[in-house]
């Protein structure tokens, strides 16, 4: 491990890349070489830094000064001033809202956003995601070392159970219990599968974790494999995430080189092999049994359950399927202990949750906060209020399978149980915040269209139900629907929930149910008066 005087990081999320991050990176390389500083300064591209208003960002540590937006032609001056002469080039610093002058953004964030707590995304944007050495310096592989050297598999499972960690994919199933099921199941061979088929609209937390901190997932999967007795694992990454796949393949290669993956890990008897499997564009493959079908080279159609994957999973063997965010918590729990972890969040849902904030707020982006925060807090603190001073009408959680949360529920603590009691769902962590100009019929139509498009077609309630619901919503938006269509919609949504085979169909009726529960008057206005109160819907049928 080489010691460097300074560390320079360039953001490389989609927006940065589009704004010329690659060119800035190349210019930095050239300039650092030109000043003969290459032995003193490390330069790397990191993923999403979580701030989108001034990309591409260049961060210089240890001072933690943030520059942005940086143009290629600024690079020469920046390198000369900051890296060569050691003065902060204030003219290129990213604007820090409410704080003036040369205050480092990260520390500034700590002061202004006291509630944010980074367990899962803590390393993203700070480490070089392509370097295993860098990961090790930042506490990497401590947890695996601890597990392999001083804990039995049963003790690892017990620690995870004690921590109270629950699956972050949306269902909130206790992770430790799942691990125990697989550990107990009998089979010739067991598998660990990481579900990285993140396709919930509005959710990109897993991409950030995979791109920014891939070794963390490798370590977590290796720990899981040790705990349940698996010898092989798959990371199922959606086909659209090219960069994440590249980083994972590199990470696997590096970990194998260092003896932290593959045969006889850390010189122990334990061996674990890991593959990256690319999806090919199907939302349904995020459902765990569909995902397993897809790995086996078949159509991604969900299996009938039970039997569950914990006993009959991949190639009919016991299989542990965990979401990226769930796994990302595991090394930190083993490192710091279950007691440490359960201090965060609420009693029934300990730990943190990563949310992506989108829609009509002033600041969109990604945050990691303790469970139990409220929507009002998120909008006010992290979203910096509604855009243009508009008022908050509703939020849509967890991508398309989440709920529509009306403003009246904005003070409900966001944890699995409180939301369930309020009749809504936390979903996968996307928060689409909508103001009063959003039409609920139009929104529901877009959401249902998504399910119509993505339904695998295996079972009829989902295949036909989503199409019918879409047709009715289209009629409502065009002013050609009748009042009895509302009853049909209600019935369709109930049928979807009760009769569908898998999670996709079961949640496909949620948007319809929610708008009828919370915004029925607005829907009825469309039908009775043939008027869209927000003026969004075309209402083209009115002229006929």
């Amino acid at each position: 491990m080489k010691a460097y005087r300074s560390m320079v990081l360039v953001s490389s999320d989609a927006k940065s890349m589009q704004s010329g991050a690659q060119e800035v990176y190349q210019r930095l390389q050239e300039e650092i070489r030109a000043f003969k500083l290459e032995d003193e300064i490390s330069l790397s591209m990191v993923g999403d830094i979580g701030r989108h208003d001034a990309v591409p960002l260049v961060i210089v540590y240890p001072e933690a000064v943030i520059y942005g937006p940086v143009k290629p032609e600024d690079v020469h001056y920046l390198v000369e001033e900051h890296l060569y002469k050691g003065r902060i080039a204030t003219c290129f610093q990213a604007p820090v809202k409410e704080l003036s002058g040369r205050i480092a953004w990260l520390s500034a964030r700590k002061d202004t956003l006291p509630a944010e707590q980074k367990i899962v995304t803590g390393r993203a944007g700070i480490v070089d995601p392509t370097s295993i050495e860098d990961y090790i310096v930042h506490d990497g592989y401590q947890a695996l070392g601890k597990a392999l050297s001083s804990m039995t598999p049963a003790e690892v499972i017990e620690e995870i159970e004690k921590s109270g960690l629950r699956g972050r994919g949306g269902a909130g199933f206790p992770t430790g219990t799942k691990w125990r099921f697989v550990a107990k199941a009998s089979g010739k061979k067991k598998y660990v599968v990481c579900n990285a088929d993140e396709s919930e609209p509005g959710t990109f937390k897993d991409r950030l974790i995979l791109e920014g901190d891939p070794f963390n997932i490798l370590e977590a999967m290796t720990i899981a494999a040790y705990a349940i007795g698996a010898s092989e694992g798959y990371i199922y990454v959606r086909g659209e995430y090219g960069l994440a796949q590249e980083r994972l393949l590199n990470a696997i290669h590096e970990a194998e080189r260092m003896g932290m993956l593959g045969k006889n890990i850390f010189g122990s008897d334990f061996s674990f092999h890991l593959h990256v499997h690319s999806g090919a564009g199907a939302y349904i493959c995020g459902e765990e049994t569909a995902l397993l079908e897809s790995i086996e080279g078949k159509r991604g159609e969900p299996r009938a359950r039970p039997p569950y994957p914990t006993t009959n999973g991949l190639w009919n063997q016991p299989t542990l399927v965990n979401n990226v965010e769930t796994l990302a918590n595991v090394p930190a729990i083993l490192r710091n202990g279950a007691g440490w972890f359960s201090k965060f969040g609420t009693k029934s849902s300990p730990g943190t949750k990563v949310f992506t904030i989108l829609g009509n707020v002033n600041v969109t982006g990604l945050i990691e906060v303790p469970m139990g925060i409220t929507l009002r807090e998120i909008i006010a603190i992290y979203g910096k209020g509604m855009k243009n001073g508009a008022s908050f009408k509703l939020a849509q959680t967890g991508g398309s399978s989440g709920s529509i949360i009306p403003a009246s529920l904005q003070d409900t603590p966001m944890d699995f149980d409180s939301y369930r009691n309020a009749g809504v769902s936390l979903g996968s962590g996307a928060l689409l915040i909508c103001d009063e100009d959003t039409c609920v019929v139009d929104l529901a139509r877009v959401l249902v269209n998504f399910f119509r498009f993505e339904s695998c077609g295996k079972c009829s309630p989902c295949r036909i139900g989503t199409q019918r619901a879409y047709d009715i919503l289209t009629n409502i938006s065009e002013g050609t629907a009748l009042m009895r269509d509302i009853d049909d919609l209600k019935m369709l949504s109930e049928n979807l929930t009760e009769l569908s085979n898998c999670g996709l169909g079961q949640t496909a009726g949620t948007p319809v149910r929610d708008i009828l529960n919370h915004f029925r008057a607005e829907v009825e206005t469309h039908i009775r008066l043939k008027v869209c109160p927000t003026g969004v819907c075309p209402m083209s049928g009115r002229k006929v």
Binding site: G202, I295, T364, A430, T438, F453
Partner: protein, 160 residues
């Protein structure tokens, strides 16, 4: 014409061979192989599926059912450039519908169609995971975010 077709067939078989060599013939590599051939040839012609079926010892019917299931695989020829338009809620709320209308008008084709000159294919897609910068369109592998209707002409002009 016949010669052309033969040559094309060779290219296809070659692409299949390379993909199989790279990934092996284990069943769990089927989708990666289909993905790779689709990327190289542009779509999955009948010859490709036949060759894959021979090499992997998988029935053609199963290959066809898999190839038609996933959005990223296509059994029909596509245009030189494929435009994917994200139609999920976050992009929709951010002004996606105006972009979608402008896009269809500009290219004069509907969803799933290819322009007569074989240059563009327009498809809608579900969330691409870049919701922070919606509305989003993806042309081949390039992501364009915060797209407005009046930028479209300039973006499309970048492609030959």
């Amino acid at each position: 014409m016949a010669e052309d077709h033969k040559k094309n067939g060779k290219v296809i078989v070659q692409a299949v061979h390379e993909a199989v060599k790279r990934y092996g013939t284990s069943k769990d590599e089927l989708i990666p192989i289909l993905n790779e051939v689709n990327r190289k040839v542009g779509y999955l012609p009948g010859e490709a599926l036949e060759e894959i079926s021979r090499q992997m010892k998988v029935p053609k019917s199963q290959l066809f059912s898999v190839a038609t299931f996933y959005h990223m695989l296509s059994t029909k020829p596509r245009g030189r450039h494929v435009i994917q338009f994200c139609e999920s809620a976050p992009c929709h709320v951010a002004g996606g519908r105006e972009v979608w209308n402008a896009l269809r008008e500009e290219l004069n084709i509907q969803n799933g169609e290819t322009t007569p000159d074989g240059k563009w294919t327009l498809i809608t897609t579900s969330c691409l995971g870049v919701c922070g910068v919606g509305p989003v369109i993806v042309i081949d592998n390039d992501v364009f975010g915060n797209v407005t209707p009046d930028q479209l002409r300039e973006i499309l002009a970048r492609y030959k």
